[in-house]
């Protein structure tokens, strides 16, 4: 019984930050059309900001979530305004944009390592209450993180598919010229998307920190899986990112149950490559 339900429960918890990050990453991919590797550092910085408020300044953990997420969003906007938008305006192609974002990622990651060192930070969440869910011990904070992640994802979903801004956003991503001709201001919507994506990434980092620890590599370790999820979930489809994200979390948890966690990553990456091969028809082959 436990081999069936354990991975489900564990996978659900493990998937919470993954899904958040995948949705945020997908928004940028959808809008700007390039793989933003530096998004991983957005996740890391969200977690570090929460470390500053929670561990260094001693704030209550719940109070740190909102300011950290907002600052992570502003950081994302800053990278967009200072680096990515000028680069796109200079006509840098999609592949070069990826390499550029790798450069950004290096810059931010090692800047963070300079500031915070290589130590592992744990959030000071006070004494958690322990629960048992389907035979697995979990803390109250993990439940709250999962609930908050779920709420955030639902809110994002409603925002994208049910509001005027969401509609403008989708219009802009779908056909830029037509959207502009219809009176949509691309600058404002772009800023908004980068902000929202940054907030989602920051939250992902914070929740990741609740489940384990914070160091300068958490974003980098997450980003490859996030990219895979986003590509597989059909580029830019928030629905796809949700489904694939939860699925990936459960697969990881399942393989982790059976073997070591590093094997889980290996299995997941091999699976992704195979699915990639089976589902994607090449642009070159069609052209």
């Amino acid at each position: 019984m436990s081999t069936l339900t354990d991975p489900l429960v564990l996978g659900l918890f493990g998937a919470a930050p993954l899904v958040l990050a995948a949705v945020g990453f997908t928004l940028i991919y959808y809008l700007s059309g390039f793989i933003n590797v530096a998004y991983g550092e957005n996740v890391t910085m969200g977690a570090y900001l929460a470390v500053i408020f929670n561990v260094k300044l001693g704030w209550d953990f719940y109070l740190t979530i909102v300011p950290s997420a907002i600052l992570a969003g502003l950081l994302s906007v800053a990278t967009f305004v200072l680096v990515f938008r000028p680069a796109m305006r200079r006509g840098v192609g999609p592949t070069e944009m990826i390499i550029l974002s790798v450069g950004m990622s290096f810059f931010i990651r090692y800047a963070a390592r300079l500031l915070f060192g290589i130590e592992l930070y744990l959030f000071d969440t006070g004494k958690p209450t322990y629960f048992t869910l389907a035979g697995i011990g979990i803390t109250s904070y993990q439940i709250i993180a999962l609930a908050l992640a779920a709420v955030t994802v639902v809110a994002l979903y409603l925002f994208i598919f049910r509001t005027g801004y969401g509609e403008q956003m989708r219009a802009l991503a779908g056909n830029r010229d037509l959207a502009k001709a219809s009176g949509i201001n691309p600058n404002r919507v772009s800023l908004l998307i980068w902000f929202i994506a940054g907030v989602a990434g920051g939250l992902a980092g914070i929740f990741y920190g609740v489940f384990s620890f914070v160091n300068s590599d958490i974003g980098w370790n997450l980003i490859l899986i996030v990219i895979m999820i986003s590509i597989l979930g059909r580029v830019g489809s928030v629905r796809g990112a949700l489904v694939v994200g939860v699925g990936a979390g459960i697969v990881v948890a399942f393989v982790t149950q059976v073997t070591q966690s590093l094997y889980a990553q290996v299995v997941l990456l091999v699976l992704f490559i195979l699915v990639l091969k089976l589902t994607r028809t090449s642009a070159a082959m069609r052209g």
Binding site: P86, R89, R90, V102, I273, R280
Partner: protein
């Protein structure tokens, strides 16, 4: 002195990798983000063949190269007909898988404890390291010279044709997928070859060597030097290496040990910044394109 020779040897290996990357990306347009994987598999396979199986140096090296070539062939066969972003993610995944497996398969690689000791192939007393450096310089020069030559050969022109318009090249009857697979397999196998050489250079193998850092070092060097130019990797590595590895790490007056520990972080930070600045302000790198024409860029989409 021996530290300086080690740094120089590592730089020469990086020149080799960056030049091979030029053949893959600059010439053919294959976005290989798995350099650390091919290099690292060569590193470990060579080490295992030489230390555990006691094979002679040259046999172990050639066997490691062939094994990496087979791996590259399989990966290339799976991903090379996908689009750029899928190739990038798939090769990066391969390198990550290699990194994980080297860590977990302790029975073979000793895991994080480290695998050793891989000796030099020859012993010339105190000048062994210097002779090995010269050997590396010779091998890397061959790769660079080949990169220079291929551009004016039919095969090189075909690769450029594939890069610029694969559909057109195929419609002219060129077997584009097969040619991409050939160049990818051979160049990746040679990355494994340099991995084997690096095993002798490093003596002691740890999984950390397979972290993506070497992939990005090769990319940064190539982009900085000029991705379309045969000497792009050479110039990029020299600029980066002379500034960061030799001048700063060897000669800069470093006040305290705490400051010394910060140096690598500052170095990688500046690597990143350099990469951003080059792509934004001089996307063709220091040398620019070797060919007279410039490729058209796609329409920006902000």
């Amino acid at each position: 002195m021996s530290y300086l020779i080690f740094v120089l040897s590592s730089m020469v290996v990086l020149i080799g990798l960056a030049t091979l990357l030029h053949l893959q990306f600059g010439l053919t347009g294959i976005v290989n983000f798995g350099v650390a994987g091919f290099w690292g598999v060569g590193l470990y396979v060579f080490g295992i063949l030489m230390v555990d199986l006691n094979l002679p140096f040259i046999v172990a090296l050639l066997l490691a190269t062939v094994i990496v070539g087979v791996v590259a062939f399989v990966i290339g066969w799976i991903v090379l007909d996908l689009d750029d972003q899928a190739v990038l993610v798939a090769t990066l995944s391969f390198a990550t898988i290699g990194f994980y497996l080297v860590t977990t398969e302790k029975w073979l690689t000793k895991g994080v404890v480290g695998f050793g000791t891989v000796p030099f192939p020859f012993d010339f007393g105190s000048s062994t390291e210097l002779v090995f450096l010269l050997l590396l310089v010779t091998l890397t020069s061959l790769v660079v010279l080949y990169a220079r030559r291929i551009r004016s050969q039919p095969f090189g022109r075909l690769l450029v044709g594939i890069r610029d318009n694969e559909g057109l090249a195929r419609s002219l009857g060129k077997p584009t997928f097969r040619q991409k697979l050939v160049i990818f397999t051979v160049t990746s196998a040679l990355m494994g070859f340099f991995g084997g050489m690096s095993a002798s250079l490093n003596h002691f193998l740890v999984p950390y060597l397979l972290s993506p850092t070497i992939t990005f070092a090769a990319w940064i060097a190539l982009i900085l030097g000029g991705k379309r130019h045969w000497a792009g990797g050479l110039v990029g590595v020299l600029v980066i290496g002379v500034i960061f590895d030799i001048l700063i790490e060897t000669y800069a007056p470093i006040p305290t040990t705490e400051a010394a520990q910060m140096i690598p972080n500052i170095k990688y930070m500046l690597y990143g910044l350099l990469l951003v600045l080059v792509i934004m302000f001089r996307p063709e790198g220091i040398l620019g394109a070797h060919a007279p024409r410039r490729p058209r860029r796609e329409k920006p989409n902000v």
